[in-house]
């Protein structure tokens, strides 16, 4: 079934089409939610709220991009709103430089997808949101600043800290696996 057929079925109110749409995209969106949420329970809440919005606003999908991209944007926005509602944004300090270790690529390849998702999920909230938005979703700093209602410099600073935090974790995990 194509995305277009799925959408048309959903718009006619057919539950089996809605279920098919959910089955097709829920796994990927759950991974997105886990990257943003602090724990699994929060990720489930975001996924549920996100899909309710998807079905509610499906009529406004204009077929200009991919359906998956559209759903992902809704889920990410829901996650950001959810996190902003539940927890205050962290205070930001001045940006620092980041020096990439040559051992990091090897460390990444040694880990599975779920491990990496879990690792990103363990980032402190401020770092996590900026890292996900910049590195994984491809947003620019000024867009992130708008989305999170923070300064652009704050976004840069958070990203640097997130990279450092992740690099340290990745390297320590690799050392653990070597020994």
């Amino acid at each position: 079934m194509t995305d277009k057929e799925l959408i048309e079925g959903c718009l006619r109110g057919k539950t089996q089409y809605e279920k098919a749409l959910f089955d097709r995209f829920s796994g990927k969106m759950m991974a997105v939610c886990l990257r943003y949420a602090t724990d699994t329970s929060e990720a489930e809440d975001i996924l549920q709220e996100g899909f309710v919005k998807v079905f509610e606003h499906l009529r406004s999908f204009r077929h200009e991009g991919s359906l998956e991209g559209w759903i992902r944007r809704i889920v990410v926005t829901t996650a950001l709103k959810h996190l902003r509602r539940n927890k205050p944004t962290q205070e930001i300090t001045a940006a620092e430089d980041f020096h990439e270790s040559p051992d990091v690529p090897d460390a990444i390849t040694q880990l599975g997808e779920q491990d990496i998702i879990r690792l990103i999920g363990q980032l402190p909230q401020g770092y996590r949101m900026v890292f996900n938005l910049y590195v994984i979703e491809g947003y620019r700093h000024h867009e992130i600043a708008d989305l999170l209602a923070i300064e652009e410099s704050t976004s840069r600073s958070q990203l640097v800290k997130a990279r450092k935090w992740l690099q340290d974790k990745l390297l320590s995990l690799t050392r653990l696996s070597v020994y």
């Binding site: 109110g13 057919k14 539950t15 809605e18 279920k19 959910f22 829920s26 796994g27 990927k28 759950m30 991974a31 939610c33 886990l34 990257r35 699994t40 489930e44 996924l47 549920q48 709220e49 899909f51 309710v52 079905f55 509610e56 980041f98 990439e100 990091v104 690529p105 990444i108 390849t109 880990l111 997808e113 779920q114 990496i116 998702i117 990103i120 590195v135 994984i136 990279r163 992740l166 690099q167 990745l170």
Partner: protein, 491 residues
């Protein structure tokens, strides 16, 4: 010009690994989403209905508390004489000043009023000849007493009624002369039951009135006057006067309502077992509201203080459209075709045969499901009289004494099953009695005749229990919003 952000291999690698990654979706997530969406549809409607009821109730309460403090007896009626009388009530003080000047023998009925106590109209007097209502000012004494020179009470305003001498017009008694008193006019009085009275409307002309006999006042209190409101209500309005012959019985009167109410039925299906969310969604998809109504008779007992108890019988019918297209259904059609022709002169033999054609898919089943309820209402009402209008607010229970159903639904295995009550093959999903439902309503009565009122009553009703049996995996609940239209007959 901004510099290009530095690229890190770590970023690219992480993006590649997680961008399209999947994670296991928790069990029951789809049901949760279906539930959330159903609630999204259900709650706004129910909240709108509930809020509307609360707003109307608040408006009603505000009207009762802060509204114009007019009783029915104070309102202008449509009869010409009475209208004029009411007009005179608006300027009672001037009228009484005139009266005071005119009274030479000291039997003034206006002195108290002239000191400012005559602003409030208090009492209606039944006109003997025309049977109409007139108004009487508190013309003398603190409670409408009429005194002689020595200050002794000789009559009360409410005991005076206009005689036939007043014709069709009601009068406002501003002053009065009693029989036996010294007066240039006293010779006009035939006996001690007569009174000479006059008002602004009859300035300079004295009218012979008769003092009402106690039995007539009682009859008047019991509502035998030609009032366009129910008799008990007229009596209720008079209860505040200590001088009125009170109607002490707690029960004020009885009436019967007959009504028909078009309704909108809001249904909610809530699954109770894991995995049944899809079934609930399938039922929501195949069944939709078509129309609903209720009709009934209510007997009303009206009590002191505006309270009323109502009971009777109410029939409610909720009709839903059932539409189901079974993609796996077989439709078998038998058609007759000519399959061969053999030419054998002189006869022509035509070989005829039949063909059976089986079509798969799209078997459309359309029908109407009916849910019928038979209830006994037990309602408590509070009634407020506003002239020709009576406003009442009611709440209470509708006790279900039986239900019945017709139609078809899908069972949890997506089979088409009958829900026809009374059939052995009927799917065992529904109760024969559904307990009680809560009803709130705000009614408006308009008096077209003294004892016959038109009734308009917005209602809100919610069933406290679902219609289905305990072991059915989905709870089917209803709430109805309706507008009852009917008549009320007082006895």
């Amino acid at each position: 010009m901004m510099s290009e952000p530095k690229k890190y291999q770590m970023d690219d690698l992480l993006r590649q690994r997680v961008k399209d990654a999947s994670a296991p979706v928790p069990h029951g997530m789809w049901e949760k989403i279906l539930d959330a969406r159903r609630n999204q549809r259900y709650y706004p409607v129910s909240w709108i209905g509930f809020s509307a009821m609360v707003l109307v109730t608040a408006a009603f309460a505000g009207w009762v508390t802060f509204g114009e403090n007019r009783t029915h007896a104070d309102l202008p009626l449509e009869k010409p004489g009475v209208e004029q009388t009411h007009e005179s009530l608006e300027r009672p003080t001037a009228s009484l000043r005139t009266a005071e000047k005119d009274l030479q023998n000291g039997f003034s009925a206006a002195s108290e009023a002239d000191r400012g106590g005559a602003e409030t109209p208090t009492r209606d007097v039944r006109q003997k000849a025309a049977g109409q209502i007139s108004r009487t000012n508190r013309a003398s004494g603190e409670s409408g007493q009429i005194e002689n020179k020595a200050g002794k009470e000789v009559a009360r305003q409410e005991d005076i009624r206009p005689s036939s001498a007043t014709g069709d017009r009601g009068i406002t008694v501003s002053e009065a002369l009693m029989s036996g008193q010294e007066s240039a006019f006293s010779s006009s009085l035939q006996d001690e039951n007569q009174v000479l009275a006059r008002s602004k409307d009859f300035t300079g002309e004295w009218t012979v009135l008769e003092r009402a006999k106690p039995s007539e006042v009682v009859a008047h209190s019991q509502g035998q006057a030609d009032l366009p409101v129910p008799p008990f209500m007229a009596a209720q309005q008079r209860r505040s006067s200590p001088s009125c012959y009170s109607f002490h019985t707690f029960l004020r009167g009885l009436s019967v309502d007959g009504y028909l109410a078009p309704e909108y039925a809001i249904r909610q299906l809530v699954y109770k077992e894991p995995g049944m969310g899809e079934y609930a969604a399938m039922r929501d998809e195949t069944e939709s509201y078509s129309f609903a109504f209720s009709a009934g008779f209510r007997a009303n007992a009206h009590f002191k203080g505006g309270l009323a108890l109502r009971t009777g019988v109410v029939y409610t019918d909720i009709v839903e459209k059932f539409r189901y297209a079974d993609p796996d259904a077989e439709v078998r059609r038998i058609i007759t075709v000519n399959i061969d022709t053999i030419y054998n002169p002189p006869d022509v033999i035509i070989n005829v045969d039949t063909l059976s054609i089986v079509e798969y898919g799209a078997y459309d089943k359309v029908g109407y499901n009916r849910y019928r309820f038979y209830d006994v209402p037990l309602l408590l009402g509070y009634e407020l009289d506003r002239g020709r209008w009576i406003v009442h607010i009611n709440t209470g229970l509708m006790l279900n004494i039986g239900t019945s159903r017709r139609g078809q639904i899908l069972d949890p295995q997506s089979n088409l099953v009958s829900i026809h009550s009374g059939e052995n093959s009927s799917y065992p999903a529904f109760r024969s009695k559904v307990g009680s439902s809560l009803l709130m309503s705000l009614g408006f009565n308009y008096a077209v005749r003294p004892k016959l009122h038109l009734l308009l009553e917005p209602q809100f009703r919610v069933w406290m229990k679902p219609l289905n049996l305990e072991d059915y995996p989905v709870d089917q609940k209803y709430m109805n919003i309706g507008l009852a239209m009917g008549v009320r007959q007082y006895f």
